[in-house]
Structures are given as structure tokens and as C-alpha cells.
Amino acid sequence: MKTQPDAPRPRIRVLPDHVANQIAAGEVVERPASVVKELVENALDAGASAVRVSIEQGGKGRIRVADDGCGMIREDLLVCLDRHATSKIRRAEDLRDIHTLGFRGEALPSIAAVSRMVIDTAPSNQATGSRLRVLAGRMQGVDDAPRRPGTTVDVRNLFLNTPVRARFLRAAGVETRAVSEVLHALALANLDTRFVFESNGRTVFDLAAGRELAARIGAIWKDADAAVLIPVATQRGGTRLFGVVQRPDRARPGFRRAHLFVNGRPFRDAGVLAAADRGYRTTVPDNTRPWLFLFLTVPGGQVDVNVHPGKAEVRFRQRGRIEDFVESSVRETLDGIESAATWGEPRPLHVVREGEGAGQGAKVAGDPGAASDEDADDDIAQINIFRARAAQAEDAAASEEVYMPRAPRPALLQIHNSFILAETRDGIIILDQHAAHERILYEEMLAGFEGAGSEGQRLLFPFTIRLTKPELEIVESVSETLARLGFELAPFGHEALLVQAVPSPHRYFDAEQCIREMVQELLHGSDLTRSANNQNERVAMSFACKGAIKAGQKLAQEEMHELFDQLFATELPYHDIHGRPTVVRLGLGELRRKFGRS
């Protein structure tokens, strides 16, 4: 029990700076990884072309971030530890249009408040630099120190004066991994900068400055080549999306790598990730989570990055539009031939980003140096995202032509009554007739749902199907949807279904078998039906799967051509609805290699 004072005294006091900074440190500086993030962002804002990060004991012992950026003159150095001291913004209006990674002026004083910090810095036009020593937020002295232009911040004994916080730190290995992850995101966003990361004197990675996103991804993760990433590049108004996503046939369930950036700034956002996943719907099995590396560029006023001191989250002014844009961009990408499965190992991808920040421009390009002449054909064609519109249209036309069978009407070869082989300009493609027809039917049925539905052919010889009670009930529960697919079904006694009209998806359609299989699938469920969002989708998927041309069905030339035409008129021609490919490409380059002709 506290004793009550005799007379009321003022209780509220303004905290001294070093205490305020310690409190702020609690928000900004959570663990070594957040220190690294703040310091590296400062280095990048200073225009560094190389950043070297060294840590000891997961950063608990020491964190050192050295850059070759613009450095500071001594006057700046002396004020940089004051709270809200920043070179990055000047007025409140600047907050609406932020081009730098930091701007709060909180990071350095916050870190300094809870550690022993030494800053060495030299501006590019001066011969000598300065060294500032700080202990737990209190300046210890400033000396001359020789240094090449740039800044080094050396942080030791993190949380030396906040032992509770220090106790919450995890094992050195865990903290090292967290630092690593922070650096991965920054390295992906800043391709022009060399990143070196050392832990306990050992080099963890050394990422050369370059212009290729795919190369950097490959340099960071050894499994990236096998993951097979395809480029995304879309634009809607002032909003652009650039990056790479995983080719659907390579996506696997379980762990994935997903990194999102907005205006060059890494951020986390479950909504945007979910939107990208929606773009993948039906092209990958339901439990599969493809890799995503997406760089959004939105006009400055459209995104608020000032939500959280760590800036891990951002707020979009029109979230719905952004998510919609991401979803349709991914879907558009999956409409392209690059998203089709290939025969054998795919060629390495070259995705290049040009310019300084993400706002400056982006580019996807084949690397003419790396690909020898005969390989060029199955490499990604050179595409400039921000090329003039006319050129884009031309490109689209050209790529369409490449992958459609050669005109006029080449002979198509049906193999084992299941696959159709066609010559294309750059090799051959093999089409799975069932998978292809599934995709065609599925999109047709969905389009039918948008309108009045699909027609059913009335039968001259209506027939009955004996079903069990639960089977009849499931038919009853989806009867309206079935009617819109073109089925006219009515109960016939207690144990049978009278079929009076059926859709006719193709000449070889066996309505009775299709109905039986659909009833089984809808009754017991399947991976396919579980991936559906609603009843219409579920029934349409089941119908597409059971009603499509079967493997083993011999087809006439004309029918094969029709299948090709219809498939390439769909939205996602390269993927069936189970998340399997509809076509596999075999490029001339690969053929030549197989025959040892390269």
C-alpha cells in the first residue's frame, strides 16, 4: 500500500529525451533484425551502391552496417541523434509522397538509446570524416576519423540498458535468420546495390549488384531454379505490377516464398497475397501455394506507408482496386505461353529491372549473351513493359502466332487416342485432350451461369437412372444448377431419376455415365469440388471433368482443330481445372539438345 501524500502535487511531467527515446526504441527496435532493417534502409536512402552487414551472435553482440553512400558532414552528424531529425522530409505535405524508405527520424536515436553506438561518416567531397560515439543515448564525443565517403554504423550491446527486452531475444541462430530475412527483402527491392552479409566473420551471402531479379532470387535461394518462375508485368492506369511468380505446374503444397513490395518497400499483406492466389485459381491444386515476388508501383498518394514505425504494413487508399489488379495481373500472366508446362528442365529465366527505384521503370528481357542462338527460341522473348502501346500489341500478336499451330491447318497427330501433337513455329506442343476440353467446358459453363444458362438437348428416348436416396438428395440439392447446365432431370419414383434433356458438350458425350459420375463426385466430394467457391462452380467443375472428351476417345482431324481453337479462346488455355497443364511444350532448342545437335 502506498501512502497518500498530504497535498496534491503535479503528477504529469515531460520525459527527458533519453527516456523518450528508450520508449520509442521499444516500437522501432524490437530485435537485431529491426536494427539491421533501419540501418540498411538509411544506407539505401543515402544512395549506397554496396551495403555490408556484419553481425556477431545474431546481432546481440554486434551489428555493423557499412555503406558507400553520401555520408554526413559533422553538423548533420551532431543532430542526427535528435528525435525527428531527418534529411528525408521537410514539410507535412511530403508525408503524402514519400520516395525514401525512412522519414520519421526515429530510427537512429531509438537505436542509440539502447546500445553503444559508433558512427563513422565522411561526405563524398571531404577528405576527412568524423566519428561519433554514443552510449545509451548519451553522446560521448566526436573526433576526426579518416574514412572513405560513406557511413558505418556500429552497434554493440543492444538493449544494454533495457535488460527485460534483452531477455526476450531468441537464440543467436534464430536472430541471424531474422536478419537474413530482412536482408533478403531489401536485396530483392534494390537490385542495383551489392549486399554482403557476414555473421561471426563468415560470409553468409554476397549478392553482386545487377539488374536481374531472377538472378538475385537465384543467388539468394538455391532452390529457386527448380521452382521455375515466370515474369509478370502489367499496368493499369498509374499502377504497375512487376515481378515473377511460379509456373503453376511447379507449384507445390506447403512452404512457399512470397515477397511483396510497394514502391520499392517490402511489406506484408495477407489480402494482396490472397488476391494473387485467387489469380491462380483452377491452375494449381487447391492446397498449393505458388511462389510470388511482386513489386507494386502505385502513385504516391495511393498508399500510406506511415502506418507502423516498422513500416511492415501499408494502407492502400483503394485496397479493393489493388487486390483486383493483382489478381487479374496474375491471371493474365497465367494466360501466357510461359505459364505452360515444358518438357524437361526449363531454361533459366532472366528478369531485369532497370532504373533506380521501382518507380523508375522495370523491364523483362531475354539475355542475349547467356542464350546461344538455338536456345533463343524457347527463351522468353524480349518484352519491355513500358514500351509504346503499338509495340505491345505487336508483341502480343507475335507471341500468339508462335504458339498456335502453324497455319494453314497443319495435320494434327493423335497419340494413343489421348494426346494431340502439333507443330508450332518453335517446336511442338502436346495437348492432353481431356484436360483441354475440361478447361473449355468449365469456362463455357461459367459464362452460361452469367447469362441464362446453357441449352439442353431434349431426348427422343428419355432414360432413367437408378440412384440411392442420398444420391437423389444430392441431385435435388443442386437441381437448379444442373438445369442451368442443360440437364432436365425429374425424380422417377423413389429410387430413380428421369433424364429428359442433357447438354451436348461433344459428339461422344455419354450423358448417363456423366450423370452417374457427377452424382458420385458431388456426394462424396473430391479435391476438385472442394476447391470450388460456391455451388455453381462446384457443379460446373464436376460437369467439366466428367463431361469432357475422355482420354482414349479417337478424334477426327476437324474435331482436333476445333479443340485447339476453343482451347486457345479460353481465358487460361494452358491449365486445366485440377491445376494440371493442358499442354506441354517441347522447343526446337530442347529437341536439338536431346539429339546432341547443339
Binding site: 441449352e455 438437348q457 431434349r458 431426348l459 427422343l460 428416348f461 458425350f509 455419354d510 479462346a569
Partner: protein, 369 residues
């Protein structure tokens, strides 16, 4: 075997049987044709085991015998020979061909390896005129089903007795024609009913192109057609054909009378714009006029109108345009009567004036709006 034959006769015989030579086969002898000599003639046979064709052409036989030789090669060769008498000579399993200065040896197979034609009982059979058989085949065989789940419907149903009736359907449309079976012979009065593969009927229609009589005989699960110089044998489809009489509506009271050419032309125009999948078009009948409409998302729409005789109530009905086109194409020239009961029931099409006992039936598409 040794004989002399004109190049034209040899080519004619080979061309006639070539349709029955399978393209791919696991039984090598089926790629061959069988050549058998008879008095002053030679029989040439080919088979794919489902349909067998035998054709007789005149030849000067000096030594009787039989041999098989690769059918397509022999036909190709015959086309290239000069127009001079061709000498064929079997030497072991080799066929020697001499013509002008050309000497060719083709490796064959022993004639014993060639499948026998199934035994037929033509005595207990029927006799029909080539012309009427051709007519019923043309009028009906187009309507067979291509879908394999009901093999019965993959065949043409043929009833023969005093008259003969052919019926074909795929469950969506049906064609039926009945003619007098001119000169029914054999066991007089006996009637028969068969389900015949359309491929065999196509050969019958092609080969029996004169105006003579064809003998029809049955042997087990096979049916045979023969005239003096040509024979076609086919396996039959087993099973019982659905009761087609039951599904032919007798009470279609809304009748439109229209020129079949005009109607077919209008439907063809609509069909171009119809969906590849359903081929759906709509027809709206009103007194003395029919409107045809088609609307396909992403493609476009079309409208057409025809004047016709129609006095029934207004009726809107949807059809698969392809079914209508096939039916109208096979109707004899002149007017046809198209009759309906309701938009859900079968529509019938019959010639308006012709004596021909011919009826086609088309099930409508269920309209969704």
C-alpha cells in the same frame, strides 16, 4: 495362277475393294487383297473383318489359282501401268506382273491365310432393287449415333419383308424411310430385322450403283449383299433396337409448309453464327411467317425471316441447326411439312407432296429463357 486382264478392269476391281482394306492392322494379310481366278473372270476381295467386299472383273484365265498381294501397292502400281493387257502370274507367294516392257514382282502371302467370307444363306433371303436400297440408305444412314455408349444406335435398323423400312437415330433426331421391297424372293413372306453398321451400307450404296436386283442373305451374325459381280458382307450389331414407332408423334397439329431449299438456306445462314457447342438457333412461327434467330456471346447475332404456310398458334422453339440442315438436305426437292405439338416435343419433317414414305424427327433444344 496365270491370267491376262485389261489394266482398266484390274484397276476397277482393286479400287472397288480398296475401301475395305484397313489402314493399320495387326493381321498382315488384311493389307492384302485376295485374287482368285474363275472361268474367264477373277474375283478380287478385301476385308477389315467387319466389312468384306468381293468384286468380279473379266479376265482371260490360262491357269486357275489364287494368291494375295498388298492391296494398296497393287492399286498404286496399276494406276501407273501403260494401257496394255496386264499379265498376272502367281509363282509361290509372289505375284508377277507383266505389262508392256514392265516386269514387277510383289511379295504376297498364301491365299489360305486370307479370311473366308462368312457363309450366307441367300436361299432364305430377300431380293431388293439396287435403286430403292440406295434411296433408303441415303435417306436414313446420316442419322446414326457416333457416341459409343449405346452401340445399338451406332447402326441402321433395317426391317425387311413385303416392304422395307430403314431407321436411324442418335437419340436427338431420327430418320425413317419405307419403300416397297421390289421382288421379295426366297422364303416368301419371311421378314427380318437387322442392325447394320453404316460403314457397310456406305459400301453397298457405292458399289451397287446400277438398277438391278440385290440378293440379301443372312448367315449367323452376318449379312450379305450380292449381285452377279459384287458382294458385300458385314458383321451385324447385336441387340434390340428401341421402339422407334413409340416416339414418333402422331398428334403434331401445328403444321408449317415451306420450300425445303429456302428453309435449308436460311438455317445454314444462321448456323454460321451458332455456338460451336450447341449449334442452337431459335425459330418463332407465326401465321404465314417464321423468324429465325441466333445469338452467340462473343460472336454476334443474326435474324432471318421466311414466308410459309402456317396457321397454328405462335410457337417459339430451339434447335440444333446441324440436325435441321441434315434433315432438310435429305428431303426431296419441293415443299416439306414441319409439324409441332409444343416447344418441348419432337418436331417432324415430311415431304409435302412426294409419294415417298419418309419422315424425319428432330428433338428441340430446351430454351433457357
Amino acid at each position: 495362277m496365270r491370267l491376262t486382264i485389261t489394266r482398266q478392269n484390274l484397276q476397277r476391281g482393286l479400287a472397288a475393294v480398296s475401301a475395305s482394306i484397313p489402314g493399320k492392322t495387326t493381321l498382315p494379310v488384311l493389307s492384302n487383297v485376295l485374287i482368285e481366278s474363275e472361268d474367264n473372270s477373277v474375283w478380287i476381295s478385301g476385308t477389315d473383318l467387319d466389312v468384306s467386299i468381293r468384286v468380279r472383273v473379266p479376265a482371260e484365265v490360262t491357269q486357275g489359282g489364287a494368291i494375295t498381294a498388298p492391296g494398296r501397292k497393287l492399286l498404286a502400281l496399276t494406276r501407273e501401268l501403260p494401257d496394255q493387257p496386264v499379265e498376272l502370274r502367281g509363282r509361290g507367294h509372289q505375284l508377277e506382273i507383266g505389262c508392256g516392257n514392265s516386269r514387277i514382282k510383289l511379295n504376297g502371302l498364301p491365299s489360305e491365310e486370307f479370311p473366308n467370307v462368312p457363309a450366307m444363306d441367300f436361299e432364305e433371303g430377300w431380293s431388293v432393287s439396287e435403286a430403292s436400297l440406295r434411296q433408303v440408305i441415303r435417306g436414313t444412314a446420316f442419322a446414326v449415333s457416333t457416341e459409343e455408349s449405346r452401340p445399338i444406335l451406332n447402326g441402321v435398323y433395317w426391317e425387311i419383308g413385303d416392304r422395307m423400312t430403314m431407321v436411324a437415330t442418335n437419340g436427338h433426331r431420327l430418320a425413317k424411310m419405307e419403300v416397297a421391297a421390289v421382288g421379295t424372293g426366297g422364303a416368301a413372306g419371311a421378314s427380318g430385322a437387322f442392325i447394320v453398321p453404316p460403314a457397310a451400307l456406305a459400301q453397298v450404296e457405292r458399289l451397287f450403283d446400277g438398277d438391278g436386283e440385290i440378293e440379301v442373305g443372312r448367315g449367323g451374325n452376318h449379312l450379305g449383299f450380292r449381285s452377279t459381280n459384287q458382294e458385300v458382307y458385314t458383321r451385324l450389331i447385336e441387340g434390340s433396337y428401341p421402339n422407334y414407332e413409340q416416339v414418333i408423334p402422331k398428334d403434331n397439329d401445328k403444321v408449317a409448309r415451306v420450300d425445303k431449299e429456302a428453309m435449308e438456306a436460311a438455317v445454314r445462314r444462321m448456323a454460321v453464327l451458332a455456338s460451336d457447342q450447341t449449334h442452337r438457333i431459335r425459330m418463332s412461327f407465326e401465321p404465314d411467317r417464321v423468324h429465325l434467330d441466333v445469338m452467340t456471346p462473343d460472336l454476334g447475332e443474326a435474324h432471318d425471316e421466311l414466308e410459309l404456310d402456317y396457321e397454328g398458334e405462335a410457337l417459339r422453339i430451339g434447335f440444333n441447326a446441324n440436325y435441321l440442315i441434315e434433315v432438310l438436305r435429305n428431303m426431296p426437292a419441293g415443299d416439306v411439312k414441319v409439324a409441332f405439338k409444343t416447344a418441348e416435343r419432337a418436331a417432324t419433317v415430311v415431304p409435302a407432296e412426294s409419294e415417298l414414305d419418309y419422315l424425319c424427327l428432330v428433338m428441340p433444344l430446351r430454351l433457357v429463357d
